[in-house]
């Protein structure tokens, strides 16, 4: 179950999306998320779907691989859907016992579910096609102006890249410890919430101890390889915008414009096309 989380996992293949400058992908993901949450007309999601679908197709990452990340957050999705569905006040559509579904509730729930799933797929697409080192390089470059106000940009990006590198290792370790504790009779599945939380202690304590030990080892290994912060460091893969990156920025602009256009257009159209939020 723990292996299903694809967030922060790089999918090794060669595609035009993989080769894009990480800054483009970061800005693109940010714009994509903004577009998801600003848009309030249902038909716009067709534009979003077409856009996301073509990016996925270009990325050569198998769809199944990408959807695996969704499984892990399925519970959150359903929870958000159900809460919105039953708890939004408004014009009653169906009602039975104490529950009632309102028109507003239905549309909010559907919108929320669509937004969250597109958000997960969109952002995992970024981490699947960009190596974390590349990603943090991009972030470092994008945030570079903040250095002037003494934000430790390099340190932050290094920390993030290391955290990302250790996610799969720590997940694997969690799996191992879980199995080891289960073999000793630990029970992670039954009992109420408090009992379940208590059952996690024999999992978390060894996990933390090992994480600290790893951190210690890693720090030593980094120092042994002459790591001394960002000053005077050169880059093996320096970021340089290519033609395709400018083209991608252009496409992003076009996408945002298309979203805005369709949003405005469908707000003025009657009938099924004007299904919107709230």
């Amino acid at each position: 179950m723990l292996r299903d989380i694809t967030l922060g996992q790089y999918y090794q293949t060669d595609s035009v999306i993989h080769r894009l400058d990480p800054r483009v992908k970061l800005v693109g993901t940010l714009l994509f998320i903004i577009s998801l949450f600003v848009v309030n007309q249902f038909p716009v999601y067709l534009v979003v779907l077409v856009f996301l679908g073509s990016v996925i197709a270009l990325s050569h990452v198998p769809l199944g691989f990408m959807l695996r990340g969704m499984k892990a957050i399925a519970f959150l999705l359903i929870l958000a859907f159900v809460c919105n569905l039953f708890l939004t006040p408004g014009d009653i559509l169906v009602s039975f016992w104490k529950l009632r579904i309102t028109k507003q509730g239905l549309s909010t729930a559907v919108f929320m579910a669509i937004r969250l799933s597109l958000l997960i797929v969109g952002s995992s697409l970024m981490t699947l096609t960009t190596t974390p080192n590349h990603l943090t390089d991009g972030l470092e470059k994008l945030l570079n102006p903040l250095k002037k106000i003494r934000v430790p940009v390099h340190e932050i990006s290094m920390m993030m890249s290391i955290a990302l590198r250790f996610i799969p290792i720590l997940l694997e370790e969690t799996d191992k410890i879980m199995k080891a504790q289960m073999a000793r009779g630990a029970d992670f599945d039954t009992g109420n919430l408090i009992q379940k939380a208590k059952a996690l202690i024999p999992l978390l304590v060894p996990l933390f101890i090992s994480a600290f030990r790893r951190a210690n080892d890693l720090a030593m290994a980094m120092e042994a390889r002459c790591y001394r912060g960002g000053d005077g460091r050169t880059k093996m893969k320096p970021l340089k915008y290519e033609k395709r990156d400018f083209a991608a920025y252009g496409l992003l602009l076009f996408y945002m414009a298309a979203c805005a256009g369709v949003n405005i257009l469908s707000a003025h159209l009657p009938g099924i096309l004007s299904w919107h939020l709230g």
């Binding site: 080192n133 990302l164 890693l218 290994a221 980094m222 120092e223 002459c226 001394r228 050169t234």
Partner: protein, 284 residues
């Protein structure tokens, strides 16, 4: 010239209680003097707690001597200004392959050292290529380290050190967490570096089989150098080794026991070939 020289080196670990007050000290390395010549393959042998890893950490200026001095290529490790030169000249490979790989892709990890040293981009790529080829991992350059076996990960770590163009590589039990085939893989790569690239190798281990090709062997026990010599010399002292709780390779053990029971064999047999040869001569 000696690439590594330790003079009367001692190191104390400070034990602290829960409030951080000093409770006492434990002497891990006790008046060790040794020197290693450029291009040598040196093995340091010892069981757990013999101080061999503590000693190794002095060669990279990770630990500073409590007493005595360590020189790496003529530089005193205590000199604050020289610390990065020392770390570049004496590269270090650690035990746990997972805890020393920083990059998410093999080639990025190998480039980490040169990046830190401020090597120009073009040269980093050349160094990464040549180091990965030297350890036979070039085909895996685009892989995620998580997808590699333990032996392969350790070879990547070695390439990462090699890319810094060190004069000397210190390997601190690089095979302790590997299976036998991974162990062979790593040792073969290390030997190739020593013979082909003439990098000085200091291999710290408690596996006897790994040291038979070394030029010099130092055996450590309770923080001191207990024995030293060529592998042949060391292995001919089977009883002393046993007293230090170190086993000898099976062939050596067999040869020694044959000799004990009256077969006329030379001292310090290390390989199956040598034993066969010697036995044939006995017969003839």
């Amino acid at each position: 010239m000696d690439i590594i020289k330790a003079q009367d080196l001692s190191f104390d670990y400070i034990r602290r209680d829960e409030e951080g007050n000093v409770e006492g000290t434990t002497r891990a390395v006790n008046h060790v003097s040794l020197s290693v010549s450029q291009g040598d393959f040196v093995a340091i042998l010892g069981h757990n707690g013999s101080g061999k890893s503590t000693f190794a950490k002095h060669l990279n200026a990770i630990l500073m001597p409590t007493e005595g001095t360590v020189w790496v290529d003529g530089m005193d490790t205590r000199e604050e200004a020289k610390i990065w030169d020392i770390r570049q000249e004496a590269g270090m490979v650690f035990q746990n392959p997972d805890n020393q790989i920083i990059g998410q892709v093999v080639e990025e990890d190998v480039g980490f050292g040169p990046e830190n040293m401020g090597v120009p981009t073009k040269e980093i790529w050349e160094r990464v290529e040549e180091s990965l080829k030297a350890v036979g991992m070039y085909e895996y350059r685009k892989y995620s380290p998580n997808k590699l076996s333990g032996g392969q990960k350790q070879r990547v770590s070695i390439a990462g050190v090699l890319a810094m163009h060190p004069k000397c590589i210190v390997l601190d039990e690089p095979t302790a967490m590997l299976d036998p085939s991974g162990r062979r893989e790593v040792i073969r790569a290390v030997r190739a570096l020593n013979m082909v690239e003439h990098v000085t190798v200091i291999l710290i281990t408690h596996y006897m089989e790994e040291i038979i090709h070394a030029d010099h062997v130092f055996v450590m026990d309770v923080g001191k150098v207990a024995m030293h010599g060529t592998p042949k010399e060391v292995f001919s002292r089977v009883e002393e080794l046993k007293a230090l709780r170190l086993g000898v390779p099976e062939v050596t053990q067999l040869a020694w026991e044959l000799k004990q029971s009256g077969v006329n064999l030379p001292e310090g047999i290390l390989t199956v070939e040598e034993l066969t040869e010697a036995l044939l001569q006995c017969r003839g």
